[in-house]
Amino acid sequence: MSTRIFGSGIKRREDPRLITGEARYTDDIKLPGVLHMAVVRSPYAHANIVSIDSSAAEAMDGVVAVYTSEDIGDGLAGLPTAWLIPDSDLKTPEHPALAKGKARYVGDGVAIVLADDRYRAQDAADAVVVDYEELPAVIDPEEAAGEGAPLIHDDVEGNIAFRWVMGDREASDAVFDAADVVVSERILQQRLLPTAMETRAAMAQYNPATQELTLWCTSQNPHIHRFIISAVTGLNENKVRVIAPEVGGGFGSKIPCYPDEALVSWASMKLGVPVKWTETRSENYLITIHGRDHVQHVEMAAANDGTLLGVRATVYAGMGGYLSTAAPGIPTILHGLLYVGPYTMDSVFCESIGVMTNGTPTDAYRGAGRPEATFLLERMVDNVAREIGMDPVEVRRKNLIPAFEDGYEVATTLIYDSGDYPAAFEKALDMAGYGDFRAQQNSAAAEGRYLGIGVTTYTEMCGLGPSQVAGAVGFQGGLWESATVRVTPTGKVQALIGASPHGQGSETTLAQIISEELGFPVDDIEVIHGDTTETPMGWGTYGSRTTPVTGAALAQASRKLKEKARVLAGHLMEANVDDIEYADGSFSVKGSPDQAQSIQDVALMAHLAWNMPEGMDPGFEESQFYDPPNFVYPFGTHIAVVEVDAETGEIELQRYIAVDDCGPQINPEIVAGQIHGGVVQGVAQALCEGAIYSDDGQLLTGSMMDYCMPKADMFPNFELGETVTPSPHHPVGVKGVGETGTIASTPTVYNAVLDALAPLGVKQIDMPLTAAKVWSAIQDANGQEKPKRLGDLLNE
């Protein structure tokens, strides 16, 4: 038996083109006669647009046209919000492609300039004179929901776009009233800037003769983009072709359909020539969605023996100036439903209030709602431990759901698919040497050094998801995927998928699934994605769903083909189908191993169709729609060790241990890569990333000079481990792993830092934990009553 391709860490086939700069992104595509679009953007967070004078701009060399929302008129419908969460009194204020009368965040589009050259377009955009009447602005979501806040949309009273409640308030109150201990904290989930390496770009080409529109754009879900572009332009969906060429990362920020994509489409339809727009990094920070932005008031109830009884939270979730495509679903469905985490805790309550602000619209950012839930849970578990004087590891051990193989229903109504949380937990603790660490911490303290450890146990829901659930929670789409496995006469495979990977390595992973199922060498399999005309329908790449959902579709399509091949092979070898055995890409007759047909032989014969069994169609191709019966629930334990320099407040991340269980790993190198990237992004939220606005709504962290992207030298080598618990409902047992790192790492590092600072009396610091904030917190806590140190507690 040869080495299995499933489970082998082969190199990512995407990398040569990406690393050598040969990949072709939207901006690399050049069309003759293209016009460049520059957008005049509001410099104010909230302002009435009194007048727009574009005469000077229009007169400039190379300028073809300047358009405002008046020129567009009803040529473009407003951009839709596509996650209409039920029972929440949801308001969906109009989101015009260009501001109508009023700008609602810095960067809101006010006019567009079309010119023959990108520089000239920018010169002309600078020459458009807009007279604004500035209005008071509000950025903080809790403030925006309060009395006297400026009203952002006339039809969204009190700026409250929705109020979503999960759980029974009275039942929750009863649990809290009767509990031995209740801990609470106000947690700030700061705004994050997704910062994909490639900024967004869009180019539209409308053919007036055929009335067909082709839109190349940076999309994680070209089929959803086609759907929305068709809706806003009024073109039939079969006349719209959306192509996502190479896409340089998204992290959620390339799910939404933005004004810019609609504007190039409309302008190309209007002028009959191709129109292109490529975002600058400055624009990217201002107008591409931001992530997180919660103000959370959280409480947890527990018994004195460490039994966790319940969690409840009021969440103010900042939506920004408009409701982005999936925005309402993030701080609600994808957030509250995770409040139980991996614990046997049966009281949950969440009230999530979506608030319009004058910030950039927010939407899904890696983890999308689940990091914000995991953080609050893990933070509160540590607070409970501290309050009752128990080791936080003991509290977790005591409350973890015991191992289960097929279904475990929790208080949020989710049915976790499979899990062995204690196994991953104990493995991580072993790897970290947890017991020894507390002694080290004590001896370091004696030298005036502050070490801390943070431990997170998590599970999360991904592989989104059954379509029936999507419908029930108001998602305006299905959540299945489809795929076609097409084999050419010479035995080479094209796998066409509706999902749209953009850096994850899915071309490699998915080829491995097909190779495993069907026996073609992995290098003979191409995975094709991103073009709505070439590929079958799919809902896109997000929510760690491509391997679980598309992978399942491919596995099942491959199985259908294999069954066809077996029957055909039997026919060709004049043997009974039941006697046909398969191994390593070859079919043979039981008992006479020298008689064999390779899968390539069979594929050729299926194409030639000279000698088919009765009733079998020619060709060698199968398609499969796959709607998952449930989410998949990866899980694990992460541990961080930090040292805080009390003189400066600097934090050194000394060790990072991650034990994740995503079921059987198709490609362990790619899994490790996903965890590395995720951990880095999550740690960055804890330590350095955070968008900051001035009181009047200017983004002060408008470039990487001020917005702190994580850098390689901030990190030790990660220590990765795994356990393997297959998903019972998935054809190959796999779970998603694209977001686990981000979900687990933020609370892990945060809790480690707060553990280190405990002897100094510091109990809470808003993220990110910059040196200046840590140092100030140490100064402020000086002389205050010191909380018990966990290291000492252990030694008591």
């Binding site: 920018q122 400055s282 001020d706 702190c708």
Partner: protein, 281 residues
């Protein structure tokens, strides 16, 4: 991303550069400060005179004093054995500028002409009493580093004047160090401290101290120097200097949203201690 229109001229000599620079023109050296601001349209010179090809502006000579041509790159300075011996703090500061790509392009002349308060080399130049050599259409002049840096992005350079070189006294008998607390976002200095100690038989005969990053310009710190001079640089002296330096920079403080002035002022004391320790090691 999309700078305004400009003319470009590559000068072959200092004379040609000085003769061709127009009123709205700027010299272009490594371009690593100028081009970013042009791309953001925060500056829009109508003409760039590229001085990168003028041989006489580049290179390091060590005849008595140390002389460094204006277009010498940070990487060249950091790697120079002469600079390492004659002003170890400058070699260290230039080695801590940005990353390797930035050090390969950015020049000392461009760095000091730009006068970013969070730059590294100016702090050492001020501490070590460097001289900035300048040439204009009407001739040449020299300005001490302390006078050269006037304020935030403001120097003693007049329009159309070119920095030709920087000279530094030979400090091979000093203990000299530059220690930097890099901003986690930009890696420019939150605070940078340069220390040069002349030790005579265990006693500090002369102490030179300057602070940058925390201040609108590199500031020479007389109070800290006085606290160190004449001592054995023992703990008491170091602590006194760390206190004094906070007053030395009090009138010049700078900060940003993440690292406010008050924090940087405190950190100047912490990093002075670290710089003294580094100088002595």
């Amino acid at each position: 991303m999309w700078p305004n229109k400009f003319d470009y001229l590559r000068a072959g000599s200092v004379d040609e550069a000085l003769a061709s620079i127009s009123d709205d023109g700027k010299f272009l050296a490594g371009g690593h400060s100028l081009l970013p601001v042009m791309k953001l349209r925060l500056d829009a010179p109508e003409q760039l005179v590229d001085i990168g090809g003028i041989d006489s502006l580049s290179g390091i000579s060590a005849n008595g004093d140390l002389s460094i041509g204006a277009t010498t790159t940070h990487a060249e300075i950091a790697a120079s054995a002469d600079v390492q011996t004659m002003c170890a703090g400058l070699a260290s500061a230039c080695g801590q500028v940005g990353d390797q790509a930035v050090r390969n392009f950015g020049t000392i002349g461009g760095n000091i002409a730009h006068a970013d308060p969070a730059s590294d080399p100016p702090t050492v130049l001020v501490a070590c009493g460097a001289t900035i050599n300048i040439q204009g259409a009407d001739g040449s002049r020299s300005v001490g580093a302390e006078d050269f840096f006037v304020d935030l992005f403001e120097t003693a350079l007049d329009d159309g004047e070119l920095i030709t070189s920087v000279s530094l006294p030979n400090c091979s008998d000093c203990r000299c160090a530059y220690v930097k607390f890099p901003h986690p976002a930009s890696r420019y200095a939150i605070v940078g401290v340069a220390v040069c100690l002349k030790m005579d038989d265990g006693t500090c005969a002369q102490a030179d101290v300057a602070v940058g990053g925390a201040t609108v310009k590199a500031v020479k710190c007389a109070g800290a120097e006085a606290a160190l001079a004449g001592t054995t640089v023992d703990d008491a002296a170091v602590n006194a200097a760390a206190e004094a330096v906070k007053s030395d920079i009090a009138d010049w403080l700078a900060g940003d949203i993440a690292y406010p002035e008050s924090y940087r002022q405190q950190m100047a004391g912490v990093f002075l201690k670290r710089a003294i320790a580094a100088a002595q090691s």
